[in-house]
Amino acid sequence: MVSEKTFKELEHSSVELTVTVDQDIIKSEYQSLLADYTKKAHIKGFRKGKAPAKVLEQKYGEGIRAEVMYSVIERSLKEILEDKETAYVPLHYHQPVLQNEDELEIDLEKDFSYSVVYDVYPKVEVSTYTGFSIPVPEVQVPDDLVDAELTQLQEQNALVTVTDSPAEEGSIVTLDYCELDEAGEPLEETKREDFTFTVGTGYNYYQLDADVIGLKAGDERTIEKDYPEDHETKPLAGRKVAVKVALKAVKRRDLPELDDDFAQDVSESYETLDDLKRDIGKRIHEHLDARLKEYKLGKVLQQIVKAHEIQLPDSMVRMQLEQTWQSTLQQYRLKEEHMLSILGTSKEEHLEGFRERAEQQIKESLLLNKIIEQEHIEVTDEEVMLSLGPADESADDQAKSNRVYQEMQERERLTYEKATDFLLAGSTFTKGEEMSYEDFMNKRFEAQETSE
């Protein structure tokens, strides 16, 4: 139905498409729609379907023409864009935008032409992606890191036992408490039952840590607290409060001995404490290596992005931002309105802050994909099989389709890994500044550097 079409490239990877549709098609479309309506129309003074087309045309001609226009636009666009040979394929999440919509009008005696603008996949060409020289921080692994991990494990495996002895620093206490008013009567709304906290951590509303030390299970006491003006909990600041507490239980946390038994308790795969220590040490180094690799890749990609100019379509960036937004919501398990009320800004304003980062991410992935394509980095079926293990032939359909999906993901992961190795092999890494293990692991490199 399209008699003529022209593409014009615009900025930011968008394309303007101008389409001309033959007047005969418009005419026949109009007639058939009019006939259709004539059959169905209820018009005052006429029985259903008996009103002449002329009357209908006079009354609703404009509406019918607009309808014809939109249906023609929709169908012709579909015809062009779904054509496999079309050079400019729109991004599937971006709707083409009709230009000068208010001025468009159908004239039955003329050809109809309109234009739309839509975003296409950006043109990516990679030329330089090897030969970068990148300083990598010299990371020192402190010797006592293993011991620190061990202590943490010890804490996790601590045995909690109920004791009759008085509460002390580090005990876990369970208590009921309520605030008393001036007459000494308990205030209902401040009542809490079976509240548990560890003495010394300060994780309780009235900061009772110091006051419960020395109390035993079953003790009741009224504690007078005098809060300073600058107390962290606003409602309490500068007030004198009487809190009645009733201790229900005092528990002691017993740390296990660091010996072979402890190692076996942690996991059955360890025989002796040395095994455990060795494994912790290994894990620390593995973490560090992974992080270093990530750091290097990030740097290399950054250099590559810097060396190439890519015009990102706006819709692509917006899509990425939307994804970021959704994942943030999911992370905090909050509804959108709730999240916005916490942030105190509009969604657009909030996301604007992420724009630069999102652009960087998109560019990185675009370039990486292009490099994978250009270097013919491929993963064979055998490699996927080797990584996943052989498929279970007797599995049911559901499991089989799961397997297909798994294989697809694995293939993607392996390809990505190969590409990473390829990129890292192509650049040289020099010794950079010294950095402590903790600093390096906790620093967020990308965020910091894109804002430079």
Partner: protein, 100 residues
């Protein structure tokens, strides 16, 4: 009475449409109930610049309408009105009304 006060609106129905399809065209109008044939013909001539040949008028009775309300039935009717059918000379027509 002014011409535009006499002629209120054209009547568009299947029947009035058929009356326009013959050689001698007849047009149907809703007119002011106080107007007579002569006034109506004069008004048509003035408004549409055509020469009417004849005019038939009739009073259309209001149709009864009923509404059931909480306090029983309420009777009423639509307003009565006057219909005029104007016959034009052969070959003459009123373009403004055609197909409206």
């Amino acid at each position: 009475m002014r011409a535009d006060q006499v002629i209120i609106e054209p009547v568009l129905t299947e029947k009035s449409n058929i009356m326009r399809e013959t050689d001698v065209k007849k047009y149907c109008f809703k007119v002011d109930p106080r107007a007579n044939k002569i006034q109506i013909m004069a008004a048509v001539e003035e408004l549409f610049s055509v020469k009417p040949v004849s005019c038939n008028v009739m009073s259309v009775k209001g149709k009864p309408r009923f509404a059931r309300t909480k306090s029983g039935q309420r009777k009423g009717s639509t307003a009565p009105w006057k219909k005029a059918i104007i016959t034009l000379a052969k070959g003459e027509s009123i373009d403004v009304i055609e197909g409206v």
